[in-house]
């Protein structure tokens, strides 16, 4: 147990010019810098995607509004959805994974540092390519207008006939490129976790966040690849005149749906599973107890990973599958509720009997528990096929998935920010601003997404740019739009907090939360090599063992 404590000299004072520093970032292969770049990149796109959402909400605040034209509105929801999923949620998960996983498993870098940098730049390039569609270029007919086919781009809307010009090409090329980036990062993540754990860290002693990341990465391999394949097919259709999704030549529009959702459904679990990881790190620390039922937590995650590959057609209950298909996908979908429930209950078990400290990361995590519960239950409603025939394609679905994605993932990510920011920068985020951010965001979130269920129940379809008065939808849409503004202000406060605290925040020290995992043994921010000597561990809470040598964890494992 000698190697775990170490005093490291602080960074060499930086005396580089701005150009040198930028060059340093652009050419870095250090997992921490790449992680920070992923996160920064995602935050920029969060603001962009958020502005697109605000534009939609202004348009929908009043019936028969003409703040934007239908064409612009359609581009807004397409780009909003695509951006948020591929350029916000995915990169932010990869960013935190990149930053923390090598630290958590006690190694110095990712398994393939250069591949890591390459993957980041692929993702960034894919995003730029997609956003370039707003600008376009000379000789590109129809460029300068972003894609407007929706984030799942159902065929045959993406064929040359219905989507002339190049806007849809930007969509599929951007996703192919960033998809390769995601696959690269996942290969890297899996290899790092499998091959670079520090001595003593057997699989059953690995921090849950690392477990969640390896499951997530495994899912990426099997989920993003079908998307890539399907995007290649679209490109073949559009450029070489192939007929994969050409209904005139006997092609099938439905097979695109299958291909998309074989990706699309696991994708949403790809996003939620690392969020589970955040919660599984934060909740124990602020309840001062180990995670309840570690083995079953791992088992449940793996189970979710597997089951989620057999449920995709619950997005297709209305496309006219036969009753066997409809029944099969209902039961598999409902089955996911069991392992997910296990996770919720185990977090509850972790809190139970603890001494809960209401620090900002914990506030976000607790809100996550409530909101994810509700979101999951609306998911169960959607999975009941006949009920889905009414709810599908309506604002109820939009409410369901924002409840999971914003109320679940985004809350977990904010928790993660408050939790790891001290490690990343060496400064604490302001607790006061943090609490303000939290409460404003909670209010905004509930105003927006609680009330969004109702127009759905009243028959309001999604993706409509306007609606008539007198259908009973106005008041709900107004509340929803007001809530979005609250969220915007809250995000502004968050961004301000990060900038302000970077210069003015309290010093964090190595271990501000009195936590138990390896990243807290090294300095904040960690040196480039992470650990002066590679640590050895005997349990999943090495720092607990160190702090309580008379009652270490390994006695019980």
């Amino acid at each position: 147990m000698s190697s775990e404590t170490m005093a490291l000299s602080p960074h060499a004072v930086e005396t580089q010019s701005l150009a040198e520093r930028l060059h340093g970032w652009a050419t870095t292969v250090d997992h921490k810098r790449i992680g920070v770049m992923y996160i920064g990149f995602a935050l920029i796109f969060l603001v962009i995607g958020g502005i697109e959402a605000i534009i939609m909400r202004i348009q929908l605040a009043l019936p028969n509004n003409d703040f934007v034209s239908p064409q612009v509105f359609n581009r807004m929801f397409t780009m909003h959805g695509t951006t948020m999923i591929f350029f916000v949620a995915m990169p932010i998960m990869f960013g935190f994974g990149n930053y923390t996983v090598p630290l958590l498993v006690g190694t110095r870098d990712m398994a393939f540092p250069r591949l890591n940098a390459f993957s980041f730049w692929l993702t960034a390039f894919g995003a730029l390519l997609m956003y370039f569609s707003f600008v376009g270029g000379f000789g590109l007919y129809g460029a300068g207008s972003a894609p407007d086919v929706g984030w799942f781009a159902y065929a045959p809307l993406t064929s040359k006939v219905f989507s002339p010009g190049h806007s849809s090409d930007f969509w599929s090329l951007g996703l192919i490129v960033s998809g390769f980036g995601s696959i690269g990062t996942s290969v890297n993540m899996i290899t790092t976790i499998v091959c670079s754990r520090c001595p003593g860290m057997t699989l059953n002693k690995m921090p849950l966040f690392a477990w969640m990341n390896i499951v997530m990465s495994g899912m990426v391999l099997f989920a993003i690849s079908p998307l890539t394949a399907a995007q290649i097919m679209i490109s073949l259709d559009r450029y070489l005149g192939a007929h994969f999704f050409d209904t005139q030549a006997g092609g099938s529009a439905v097979i695109w749906m299958h291909f998309f959702w074989i990706f699309g459904h696991p994708e949403v679990y790809i996003l939620i599973i690392p969020s589970f990881g955040f919660i599984s790190e934060i909740v124990p620390v602020f309840s001062r107890k180990p995670i309840f039922g570690y083995p079953i937590m791992v088992g449940a995650t793996v189970a979710i990973g597997f089951i989620s590959f057999s449920v995709w057609a619950h997005h297709m209950f209305t496309v006219g599958m036969n009753s066997w298909g409809n029944t099969f996908f209902a039961i598999t979908t409902m089955a996911v509720g069991v392992p997910t429930g296990i996770k919720i209950f185990n977090w509850l078990g972790t809190i139970w009997g603890g001494k809960i400290q209401f620090k900002t990361p914990m506030l976000f995590s607790l809100a996550f528990l409530f909101q994810f519960l509700i979101a999951g239950l609306t998911g169960i409603m959607l999975s009941s096929t006949p009920f889905n025939w009414q709810l599908s394609g309506s604002y109820f679905v939009v409410a369901h998935f924002h409840y999971v994605i914003v109320g679940g993932i985004l809350f977990a990510v904010f928790g993660g920010f408050y939790y790891w920011y001290p490690k990343i920068t060496g400064k604490m985020l302001s607790e006061r601003l943090g609490k303000l951010h939290f409460w404003l965001f909670v209010i905004g979130f509930h105003l927006t997404f609680d009330f969004m269920h109702i127009p759905g129940l009243l028959g309001m379809p999604r993706r409509i740019y306007t609606y008539e008065a007198g259908r009973g939808w106005e008041i709900w849409n107004q509340i929803v739009s007001v809530g979005a503004l609250f969220q915007g202000v809250a995000v502004l406060i968050f961004v301000f907090n990060m900038i302000w605290s970077y210069w003015k925040g309290k010093d964090a020290g190595c271990d501000p939360w009195d936590a138990w995992t390896l990243e807290w043994t090294t300095t904040s921010p960690p040196p480039e090599y992470n650990f002066a000597t590679i640590p050895t561990v005997h349990s999943s809470r090495p720092l607990w063992d160190l702090k309580h040598p008379e009652d270490p964890d390994w006695k019980y494992e």
Partner: protein, 202 residues
């Protein structure tokens, strides 16, 4: 779970030494292969789904011939690469280089065969990717595989160049082995493609 008694610091059980974990190259390659298999699966599914759904000719039965010779070449290249590695493991670099070159030759013959087949289909039978659903799925599936063979050949040739320069030594066995995994994967995919396109689909 035993009850706790307050004791002075305990000594943890020893850690398993040496601490060995799987090789990075292999784990990385297996992950990549997993992703690649998923891509191929989608193309195979599309092929199978569209069998017999073309609304105009030609049909596979009319134009496809069994590429037996090609298949034999590609599959035997899996054997030769295996022999090459066996030689390298023993440190026999000359035998390694010879078998490695043979592997490349077999792969190249396969590619050439595919090119001839396509030429025949396009110019004699008038089947292009635009002709019908069969053309669409056939060229994309076989083409995707041929693309992988090309990438594989590129990697193999690089190693051959290094070997001829005398840079590939026994201690590089691990890395070369990782490359060979990829080549085996390309071969296995061909078996699937062969059965789907030339046997079941005809």
């Amino acid at each position: 779970m035993s009850s706790t008694t307050l004791t002075p610091p305990l000594t943890p059980p020893p850690i398993e030494t040496p601490w060995v974990l799987p090789s990075r190259g292999k784990v990385g390659m297996f992950s990549l292969i997993a992703a690649e298999s998923a891509i191929f699966t989608i193309f195979v599914v599309a092929y199978v789904f569209y069998i017999g759904k073309s609304i105009s000719g030609p049909t596979p039965r009319e134009v496809l011939e069994l590429p037996i010779f090609n298949t034999v070449c590609l599959l035997s290249s899996s054997l030769t690469i295996h022999f090459a590695l066996g030689a390298l493991k023993k440190g026999n670099r000359a035998v390694f280089t010879a078998f490695w070159a043979l592997t490349i030759a077999l792969g190249a013959i396969f590619l050439f065969g595919t090119a001839r087949e396509w030429h025949h289909l396009i110019y004699d039978k008038g089947l292009t990717i635009q002709t019908n659903l069969f053309g669409t799925t056939y060229y994309s599936l076989v083409g995707l595989h041929a693309f992988h063979v090309t990438v594989g050949l590129f990697g193999l040739s690089l190693v051959l160049a290094f070997a001829l320069l005398g840079w590939v030594k026994q201690e590089h066995y691990g890395r070369v082995d990782v490359l060979s995994l990829y080549w085996h994967f390309v071969d296995v995919v061909w078996i699937v493609v062969f059965f789907v396109v030339y046997v079941a689909g005809r």
